[in-house]
């Protein structure tokens, strides 16, 4: 065995521990930690695992509601969907690994989030991904897009979960830090949810799944630091995924849970064996003793340090009922998975690690997570934006054609055609609509899924931007007819030690909290990714909101495509807000003005109105207005239905403000009786007006026009053009 390095402040610094944090360890133990113990502290106390900069603010988020079965703190959130069933979901980032090694980084991000869901006893039924890349012409962008998309597909397709939605955006602020946020949702019986808290003394701690290798050692610590130009040298800290093993692990875990053998279970994600063992002990008020000689290893001569910090994928730790050991062993054998008793629960508050006849670690277990540092980082409020100056001229049809082919607004079919979005044969609404809809297998119910955020709003006005991310998710769910249930948040920001960045974080949390409360969509799970900076260039603040809604029956579902001859009614107030709009930014390179304000009360009434219009059979289609405003929404409906559309110019507003303004809280609906729709909106206290009709083969905007076929061609080929394939 190689000699262990001497533990001192310098070595601690190399583990990402600040001098005061190292001192805290010395004070806690009353001695110098061993090398393995230092590794354990660095794993438990890094930003990724400890949330030390964000905790104070995360506590302010609404996390409860009558529908919430389990909020944040477990592997994933659990929400009641009636009939004794629950949806289990979470979103998590894999940003740093994906930038370093796009295929494996993204693949293992998908693997990690799927494990979070099935660890709770749920069978995954849907996945989504929110992806942010650098400028389309940046030399790394194409290879990152190609690698990340292939990695997500490679993992999800093989595992057999439909990838049904997500987002892709491009902005130079992500040049040195792409974002890969992976969402997964699963289905479980509400009374058969599995948690991580161990119970009972002397119970066997069982290791299940792939063997432990040296991959990913120190990954969580890497993910808690800024990048500089040497990012690629960190490639060995990225793990390698094996979706085939994960699929077997899923089936074995669900069989094992059904057998009654599982007391508690925790997946080995960031910081592997360390985090999972501490979590199970801590939540159960127990100590844990591990015998590392029993850990199945892929490589020779692994040290205790390496085993405790390995992030090898597709591994689970569980506490099993000893009398069921034979049942458990038969299931593991059936699926040809490695299985070993690697320790036991103990009554004392200790985390004992033995290896090769030596004690490599002996730490107070509760203190490992309980005394992790927590910071109230200084922050400054984001200054108010100057108003948008003179608005350039606008030719609505020409501008629409240009916008619909831009990297940020063109069709994402190039991406989702690489994802199996139909496996499990329950995908009712495929990617490319407001929200994807997946049937609850064997029932009349369905779940709607969306992920949303508009980072340029969040940068300009974090509070309104935070609200808007939730409001847009609410609208996307409502536009499909679903009743929004709850959210998961994946908060991606720069270096929290810089007060301006911390101010963005605080502002976004305030906005998200306000919106989640007002719209009745509590946050039930989430993840924080900080230090998304390269050479001190921070990303745009990107608090991705993943949201889930319920359709009691498919009859409540609203399509996005209206029929030819349908009248279009615009619901919600249009003031013509062009600040931070896609039109100003994409076509004129202007990121000026304030973000559009969000009226949460009006949002809620508008969502309720859409559902009630459907229940009263007054609408044939609905689509939410977001980036690019009215013209883009109408164009997307036209392309989806294969029918032209005519929109009139409203009096009192310029063409840019009317067609491309991004006022919030608006929907475009198709209907046969516009008077009835307008009257219903008035009753709900909402503005509504007839703005046009479907028909023909032209897109007519005021007194400008272009053929639908031309627009569809630009929209559909945009992504291939950006990838250099068309």
């Amino acid at each position: 065995m190689s000699r262990e390095p001497e533990v001192n402040q310098e070595l601690a610094a190399g583990h990402g521990l600040k001098p005061d944090e190292y001192q805290r360890i010395l004070d806690l133990l009353g001695r110098t930690p061993s090398f393995t113990e230092l590794g354990i502290f660095s794993a438990m106390w890094n930003e990724h695992c400890s949330y030390k900069s964000s905790k104070k603010w995360l506590r302010t988020l609404p996390t409860t509601g009558p529908q919430v079965i389990c909020g944040p703190g477990e592997n994933a959130g659990v929400v009641d969907i009636g009939d004794g069933q629950a949806v289990v979901f979470k979103m998590e980032s894999h940003n740093h690994p994906s930038y370093i090694e796009p295929y494996q980084g993204a693949a293992t991000g998908v693997g990690g989030i799927l494990r979070d869901v099935f660890t709770m006893g749920a069978r995954p039924i849907a996945a989504m991904n929110s992806l942010s890349f650098g400028a389309p012409d940046h030399p790394k962008t194409r290879s990152l897009v190609a690698g990340v998309v292939a990695g997500i597909g490679g993992y999800g397709n093989c595992f057999g979960v439909p990838t049904v939605g997500g987002e892709v955006r491009f902005h130079a602020a992500y040049n040195g830090n792409c974002l890969v946020n992976a969402f997964a949702a699963g289905l479980a019986d509400a009374d058969k949810i599995f948690y991580s808290a161990a119970s009972g003394v002397g119970m066997p701690v069982v290791y299940l799944g792939a063997k432990t290798g040296r991959d990913g050692v120190g990954g969580a610590t890497m993910a808690s630091a800024e990048f500089s130009d040497d990012a690629e040298e960190k490639r060995p800290t990225v793990q390698v995924g094996d979706p085939f093993t994960e699929k077997r692990l899923l089936e074995a875990c669900l069989e094992l849970m059904a057998s009654g053998a599982v007391i508690s279970i925790q997946d080995m994600g960031a910081a592997g064996l360390t985090c999972s063992a501490v979590e199970m002990g801590d939540k159960g008020g127990l100590g844990v003793e591990l015998d590392l000689d029993a850990v199945p290893c892929r490589e020779d001569a692994m040290t205790a340090y390496e085993m405790m910090l390995s992030e090898s994928q597709e591994r689970m730790l569980m506490v099993l009922r000893p009398e069921k050991e034979d049942v458990a062993r038969a299931i593991f054998d059936k699926w040809d998975l490695d299985f070993a008793v690697v320790g036991q629960t103990i009554a004392e508050d200790r985390f004992l690690i033995r290896h090769g006849g030596e004690t490599k670690g002996d730490l107070p277990l509760k203190a490992l997570s309980g005394t992790a540092p927590e910071y109230d980082r200084p922050w400054v409020e984001t200054p108010a934006a100057a108003p948008l100056g003179d608005v350039p001229d606008c030719d609505p049809a020409a501008d629409l054609l240009a916008l619909m082919g831009t990297p940020n607004l063109c069709s994402r079919a190039w991406v989702w055609r690489q994802y199996d979005h139909m496996v499990m044969a329950d995908t009712v609404v495929r990617p490319g609509s407001d929200a994807a809809v997946v049937r609850v297998h064997g029932t009349a119910k369905a779940l709607a899924f969306t992920s949303d955020v508009t980072p340029r709003y969040c940068k300009t006005n974090p509070v309104e931007g935070g609200k808007q991310a939730v409001a847009e998710a609410y609208r996307n769910l409502s536009a499909t007819g679903a009743r929004p249930l709850a959210t998961t948040d994946n908060l991606n920001f720069g270096n929290p030690e810089r007060p301006a960045v911390m101010g963005q974080f605080v502002g976004c949390i305030q906005g998200i909290g306000a919106a989640c409360s007002a719209l009745g969509m509590p946050v039930v799970s989430g993840n924080v990714s900080l230090y998304n900076e390269t050479n001190a260039q921070a990303i745009l603040p990107t608090p991705t909101i993943g949201a889930v809604g319920l359709l009691e029956s498919l009859e409540q579902m609203i399509p996005m495509a209206p029929g030819a001859g349908d009248t279009l009614v615009l619901i919600g107030e249009t003031k013509g807000h062009l600040g931070q709009s896609a039109w100003a930014w994409e076509l004129h390179g202007r990121d000026e003005g304030d973000a559009p304000p969000v009226d949460l009360d009006a949002e809620r009434r508008a969502g309720d109105l859409i559902r009630s219009l459907k229940a009263r059979d007054l609408i044939t289609a609905a689509h939410d207005l977001s980036d690019g405003g009215l013209a883009i929404a109408a164009a997307e409906m036209a392309i989806a239905s294969g029918t032209g559309v005519t929109l009139e110019q409203a009096p009192g507003l310029g063409p840019a403000a009317w067609f491309f303004g991004e006022d919030q809280g608006r929907y475009l609906v198709g209907c046969a009786d516009p008077d009835a729709v307008v009257a219903a909106a008035k009753e709900a206290g909402l503005a509504a007006r007839t703005v046009g009709a479907m028909g023909g083969d032209q897109i007519i905007l005021g007194d400008t026009a272009l053929p639908l076929a031309t627009l569809a061609e630009a929209h559909c080929t945009g992504f291939a053009r950006l990838m250099g394939e068309a």
């Binding site: 490679g154 397709n157 093989c158 094996d242 085939f244 994802y419 979005h421």
Partner: protein, 232 residues
């Protein structure tokens, strides 16, 4: 009709196939584990489902073709039993030698999940009889390795013997290069065995056999099977 779906580690369309068979036949399809040495008694039909059996390691379908149950499946086919292989199931049938040719990586080198138009090239089979006069149908594909190839003599023979079950075609029914999603030889999407009782196809009929999922063009394949077995 008594049907079974063989489940390999990594199969992920096994449930979908079971649902489609159960719906079409009114009798629950049985799931059979790959490590079993024998098939259930009295089977009329076996399906090899889509997915990534054994992770697609070595070569798609290669390891599954050597699973213990496959000896019984091959015997069943040789005795004239009906066998349907979809996607990974088609790859496995080719690896067992029950069907000729090979399935190569898609020409685009990318995984493709999309609805495609297929022409029903023959209704003279227990899998396609119910398509009647319907020539062009819509069924999804979802694969990375689905480009069917064989030598010209084999392709000529398949055509001469009316053993091409489906081709990729345009909406108008033409087997154009644009309509060919993966670069398959002669736009071939599915083929029959010599006795016409084994069908391998890359598209997934089980995914569009339910109106809620956006189409029912896959349902006639299962209806054909049910009818064939009732008649027998």
């Amino acid at each position: 009709m008594k049907s079974a779906v063989i489940v390999f580690p990594g199969s992920n369309c096994d449930r979908d196939m079971g649902v489609a068979l159960t719906q079409a036949t009114g009798r629950e399809a049985q799931m059979v584990w790959h490590k079993d040495a024998a098939l259930p008694q009295g089977l009329d039909m076996i399906a090899l489902p889509g997915g990534f059996s054994f992770g697609d390691y070595l070569r798609c379908g290669a390891i599954a073709a050597r699973a213990p149950i496959m000896r019984a499946v091959v015997d069943f086919a040789k005795r004239g039993g009906l066998v349907l292989g979809v996607c990974n199931g088609f790859q496995i049938l080719i690896e067992t030698g029950l069907l000729p040719g090979a399935l190569m990586r898609n020409q685009t080198l990318k995984f493709i999940c999309s609805d495609v138009h297929l022409s029903v090239e023959t209704t003279r089979s227990p899998f396609t009889s119910a398509y009647g006069n319907r020539r062009v149908i819509t069924v999804p594909i979802a694969h990375h390795d689905g480009a069917y190839i064989a030598d010209d003599a084999t392709l000529d023979r398949l055509e001469a013997e009316d053993r091409i079950a489906f081709r990729y075609v345009s909406a108008e029914g033409q087997p154009t290069a644009d309509a060919n999603p993966n670069g398959a030889a002669r736009n071939i999407a599915g083929i029959l065995s010599e006795n016409r009782r084994v069908l391998g196809m890359m598209p997934h009929p089980e995914r569009l056999a339910d109106p809620a999922l956006g189409g029912t063009d896959g349902a006639a394949l299962f209806a054909s099977l049910a009818a064939a077995l009732e008649a027998a």
